[in-house]
Amino acid sequence: MALATTILAAAPALGAPTIRPDEWSAYRQNYVTDTGRVVDTANGNISHSESQGYGLLLAYLADDRPTFEAIWSFTRTELMVRPDGLAAWRWEEDKTPHVTDTNNASDGDILIAYALGLAGQAWNDPGKLEAARGIVAALGDDLLVQINGLRVTLPGVEGFAVGHRDDAPVVNPSYWIWETRPVFQQLDPDTDWQSVGEDELKLLSLSANNTAGLPPDWVSLAEDDPRPADGFPPEFGYNNIRVPLYLMRAGAPAEALEPFRAMADDDGLKRIDVTTGEVKEHLTEPGYQLIGAALACVLDGKSVPADASRFAPTSYYAATLQLLALDFLRRERAQCLTEDSR
């Protein structure tokens, strides 16, 4: 209950933009086209509902309405072709049709609905609020499952639920974006999104019960104890490195953040085999370093090094996480930053 109250307070209201014009302009030039497409540069220059959702959220946080409008126009016309109102997840420039997978990815839908909800409210735009409501209601209808009394969001409509695979249900904790739950609660009061967020937090903790003490990216909930899902590497990897960032942004308490100390060191973040604790890769782009540094500041009060907070567009994913981390630090933990990084 305490957590829910904390989370409720966390939705970023639009005051002065927390992403600076020079940072946002660099991001836009590197990853956003004039047609409103947000390009995943480290992944064959494809786009997906997640990149569009991040683009919308960052444009809102940078208070760049023209870019927001362009990204939303692209998202609506190119990806929102499913009859259930969710977005197709994968879009490729050089393929016909451009949508190469019509399944959805719920992190993308969640980010899109969240950004629309925030922007609709801030800019007093009922059309965007209406669109956000539609997506949230569809998520509630099609993606929520109940496991051992806990309600959590599935990663997609196809392929993860019971009946779709032997080790189902399978979930991905990095698709649980806790800061969205209070906004969803307002948009769609019919579903208890607050308690969904709490349940997802409980399941996150349960799925970290392994040698590494960290949740694997893909988790099977077929049995009482969560375990790494079949067919995926049993690792805490690129997906879940966002989890502590999402927890911090949602105002989660220190004990929820504590286990993630294991994923960070002075070099940046680590990809870790959860069954052995073995480090498989160091992720050293500034965006990843800043997550580790923010965690160290929130847990131990250590200042964030100036290098990690300087925005340097590298890959789409690292750059995106870096801007989200900067937004969080400037809003909630300005004291972690040096004077000129605030």
């Binding site: 004039d34 047609t35 409103g36 309405r65 023209p66 870019t67 927001f68 409008e69 362009a70 990204i71 939303w72 126009s73 692209f74 609506r76 016309t77 190119e78 929102m80 072709v81 499913r82 009859p83 259930d84 109102g85 197709a88 016909t96 049709p97 451009h98 949508v99 019509t102 009922p126 059309g127 965007k128 209406e130 669109a131 409501r133 539609g134 997506i135 209601a137 569809a138």
Partner: protein, 670 residues
């Protein structure tokens, strides 16, 4: 000028649908007031004047049509380039983005202008136009991604999309309705276009789209909306012709058994007029399929005149073979016999039937030489066997033996070749070969097992030792036909006891039976038939059974499998003989059907045959080619591949052909 038309009736239907199925799941768009309802509002002419100044008449027309549809009673300004109108360049820029379909840029430009000038409010017309434009784009993307429910739902919410100007949306909606089993509604969409849209290309394209999705009966309701030109020709004449072609092609691919009379007539008169080779050939193959080989011959002759080459020659040769004119077929195919594996096969088939004609024709050296060359090149056991019988008929048992031996080398499983070698070896008094063949084949062939047990063994024409091994082609190549007819006496097979004619009626049934077997050994099956018939009058069941069996074999040798079938039932036979006859009859029927291009019946005969004996490689290859000709390439490929895997050479070319066809087929599919 193209007139924009609101799809009043259709859109009402869509609205009904939208409320029924979509409203609950689909988040409604932000409520927008339809501009048409705001009749008092000033019409935003920015875009119109902008396009006019750009000199873009097409967009000007489209914009006038759009505004007229939105504001009934509005008339465009007389002078679009008048100076009294001062446009806002920012707004012009937005309309420019809109005009190019760059809706994201237009949205961004509106927001940019609003940020710079908080008093700026985009006109309802501009916002509505963008909504419609984006809905059209979304509809197209949903259609491309096969999200047909979404297509229908967008159309229901955006009836402005359903106009002659954006006919692509109408086509996509029609397809979405048909693919979601609302065919009559899809049909309505096509009818709407044909009732309201005047552009001839749009109308024709509409029929082409409909053709791909609807059946003939459904299409007929669209043909009812055809317009007739001043020349009296219907605008969809080309579509009717395509449908006629499809109907004939469906017969050839086994999808239907015959085409409608109208279709045949239509294509007939068109092809006579245009002389389009493909159409002429299609009519030829269709005539063959419908058992009208003489008509087919005419079509293929016309096709040859219009387009000489292997395609026309192929059809013509099949038509001629069908009419038992293998000599002409051989001549026509001569130039193309290496053009493709199937033409090689067809050529060898023609050559084999030419050689086996009764009475034996005396072939010119040039013909015989190319038959020999083709046989050697293809290592074809069947033609080699026929060359053997041909040489034998002209009293050249040594040459005959060489051919039979070669045939058995190429295809050790070929019973007729083994039988030929047996007969000639016997004639040549090559007792060792006779013994070898009998021991090898007796278990599998009744006629080889029983050879020599009836009648006397004929004296040999010349005491010549047969070649142990086949000679190289050069010495084999010449089969010199002697002017002596094979019924003559004095030399060779003619000196056999049964070689002079005796009326069968003058013989006892048992005597006729012995004589019939003797005639069979001389490969004179038609004379044998009459003698077996006499033997069938016997009171002895054993004699009658033997006679029925023999007559059946004789008919099979004559290439008359249905007569063979009748003969086999004229007296009780042992199960072993029934099986043997059935196998032979159906083999013969399959070969005969295949030779005339009747691939369906070839397959039917093979299926029948397979009830009595397993298919060996040569018949499997025949089966595969039959599938190939019926365009069942996948089945053809499977069999060719399986046979090729046993090392059977003939299958490898077939496998390549089937795979090519599959590739071409795949590349043509949308």
């Amino acid at each position: 000028m193209i007139k924009a038309l609101r799809l009043a009736t259709l859109s009402l239907a869509f609205f009904a649908l939208a409320t029924a199925t979509q409203a609950q799941q689909q988040p409604a768009q932000a409520p927008t007031t339809p501009p048409a309802a705001q009749s008092q509002q000033k019409v935003d002419e920015t875009a119109l004047r902008y396009f006019a100044r750009q000199g873009d008449q097409k967009r000007v027309d489209a914009e006038i049509a759009r505004l007229k549809a939105l504001y009934p009673g509005w008339e465009p300004p007389a002078n679009l380039l008048a100076n009294d109108y001062v446009p806002d360049p920012d707004i012009e820029k937005i309309w420019d983005f809109y005009g190019k379909g760059e809706y994201a840029a237009a949205r961004a430009a509106i927001a940019t202008k609003q940020a710079a000038d908080p008093a700026f409010t985009p006109s309802a017309d501009l916002l509505h136009s963008l909504d419609v434009g984006e809905a059209g784009m979304r509809l197209r993307n949903a259609s491309d991604a096969s999200q047909y429910e979404t297509v229908v739902s967008i159309a229901a919410n955006t009836p402005e999309l359903l106009t002659c100007e954006s006919v692509d949306s109408l086509w996509r909606v029609a397809e979405a309705l048909i693919r979601t089993e609302r065919t009559s509604r899809g049909l309505d969409a096509y009818k709407y276009v044909l009732t309201n849209c005047a552009d001839p290309q749009i109308r024709l394209a509409t029929m082409q789209k409909a053709m791909a999705l609807l059946d003939r009966t459904q299409l007929d309701t669209l043909f009812a909306l055809e317009r007739v030109g001043t020349d009296g020709a219907g605008e969809f004449a080309s579509i009717r012709l395509s449908l006629a072609r499809n109907a004939l092609a469906d017969v050839l691919t086994g999808k239907s058994s015959s085409a409608g009379e109208e279709d045949v007539k239509l294509l007939d008169s068109s092809a006579r007029q245009t002389k389009a080779p493909d159409d002429l050939r299609l009519l030829g193959w269709y005539a063959l399929n419908q058992k009208r080989p003489a008509d087919a011959q005419q079509w293929f002759e016309m096709a040859t005149a219009a387009d000489p080459g292997q395609l026309s020659a192929h059809g013509l040769a099949v038509a001629l073979l069908d009419q038992k004119q293998p000599g002409q077929a051989e001549a026509i195919l001569a130039d193309y016999r290496t053009a493709s594996p199937e033409l090689t096969t067809l050529y060898l088939t023609a050559a084999a039937s030419l050689l086996s004609q009764e009475p034996r024709p005396q072939l010119e050296a040039v013909v015989l030489n190319r038959v020999v060359a083709a046989t050697m090149e293809a290592r074809n056991a069947n033609t080699a066997q026929e060359l053997g019988w041909y040489a034998y008929a002209f009293s050249q048992p040594q040459t005959a033996a060489q051919w039979f031996r070669l045939a058995t080398t190429w295809d050790p499983q070929d019973e007729p070749s083994a039988y030929g070698l047996l007969v000639t070896s016997d004639a040549l008094k090559d007792a060792e070969t006779v013994r070898a063949i009998k021991s090898q084949w007796s278990a599998r062939s009744a006629r080889i097992a029983s050879f020599g047990q009836r009648g006397e063994v004929a004296p040999t024409p010349a005491p010549v030792a047969p070649a142990r091994n086949p000679e190289p082609a050069a010495t084999m190549a010449v089969v010199q036909p002697q002017p002596t007819p094979n019924t003559g006496s004095g030399t060779g097979s003619g000196s056999r006891s049964c070689s002079t004619y005796v009326p069968p009626a003058s013989l006892s049934p048992a005597g006729a039976l012995a004589r019939a077997w003797c005639l069979m050994d001389l490969n004179r099956p038609s004379d044998a038939v009459a003698n077996f018939a006499r033997a069938l009058n016997s009171s002895s069941e054993k004699t009658r059974s033997d006679a029925a069996y023999g007559q059946s074999l004789a008919y099979i040798r004559l290439g008359l499998p249905s007569d063979a079938m009748v003969a086999s039932s004229s007296a009780p036979l042992s199960q072993a003989r029934i099986n043997e006859l059935q196998v032979a009859i159906h083999t013969r029927a399959a070969l005969a059907a295949y030779e005339i291009g009747d691939y369906r019946n070839a397959l039917r005969a093979l299926d029948e045959r397979s009830r009595y004996a397993p298919e060996q490689n040569d018949l499997l290859v025949l089966r595969a080619w039959s599938y190939y000709h019926l365009r069942r390439y996948r089945e053809a490929d499977q069999i060719f591949t399986a046979v090729a895997a046993t090392g059977f050479q003939d299958a490898i070319a077939g496998q390549a052909a089937a795979r090519d066809a599959l590739r071409i087929q795949a590349s043509r599919e949308p």
